[in-house]
Symmetry: C2
Subunit: 159 residues, 2 copies
């Protein structure tokens, strides 16, 4: 089982590749992809899509993990995230990966055991669970790793 | 110049292929694609994406025409349309097509000359401009044809 986890967006798109190793989860790769601000949205989607397609090819994930969409903030942002997310889901299925979706709360519970953890607690716990995680990365990268941890926990338990 | 025009959605996704023929626009193909209700969203996106990728391959469009997103209705619907739209934009650029976006008002003006036309006037005018258009089709198919007409008009005029 190998998970490609994604925190979708245009300005920053977090990605992480995780595996269940011997006894514990291992982080194989993580990064924060960006696309050129100020260029038209189709170009930005394409730039991100090409990079993601390469990641699917390189890492051959069996699962794609991603958060469910939330609509409680800025609608414009939600719409942009949704457009990136649609492309991600398509690429995942085109690459033969099983798509696993988790609510933000489920991710917090999987990582810290508490559904209302703040960003700092989440980041601290991600680093504790995965010592190979980068020590200084952007939130989007930690968010992707957290979704990946969630997927390994859920699928490992048959959920 | 050949345009693939799309009205994005999950339940129904309207598609149309138009060309500028001798003296007037010609409709080469139009349809309303659907995806299986009740199946998970990633499956539905994949089903639609595979069908769209085949259309890009068959018709080799130089342009992809699509409406800009509007957020004034149901947010859930807007989010779903946005996810389908993101996939469409990615597929278009992956196929080398130039993406052209038009506001709903611009489409109405291009087809009827009036920015607040209702559905019935739009459909009537689409059939008048393109006698080869189907006489009984779903709104989404006519919507796609209308966006295609808009693209031919704008790009033809260098806009």
């Amino acid at each position: 089982m190998r998970v490609l986890a994604i925190d979708p967006g245009f300005d920053r798109l977090g990605v992480a590749v995780l595996e269940r190793g011997e006894g514990r989860e291992r982080l194989m790769y993580s990064a924060c992809l960006g696309s050129q601000r100020g260029t038209p949205l189709p170009e930005r989607l394409h730039e991100l899509g090409v990079a993601l397609a390469a990641l699917f090819k390189t890492h051959q994930p069996t699962h794609l993990a991603i958060e469910t969409l939330f609509f409680n903030k800025n609608v414009k942002t939600a719409i942009d995230v949704a457009q990136a997310r649609g492309m991600v889901l398509y690429l995942a299925r085109a690459a033969g990966a099983i798509v696993c979706e988790y609510s933000p709360q489920a991710v917090k519970i999987a990582v810290t055991g508490y559904g209302k953890s703040d960003k700092a607690s989440m980041t601290a716990m991600v680093r504790r669970l995965l010592p190979e995680a980068p020590t200084l990365a952007q939130d989007d990268e930690y968010d992707a790793i957290a979704v990946g941890i969630t997927c390994l926990a859920h699928v490992g338990r048959g959920r």
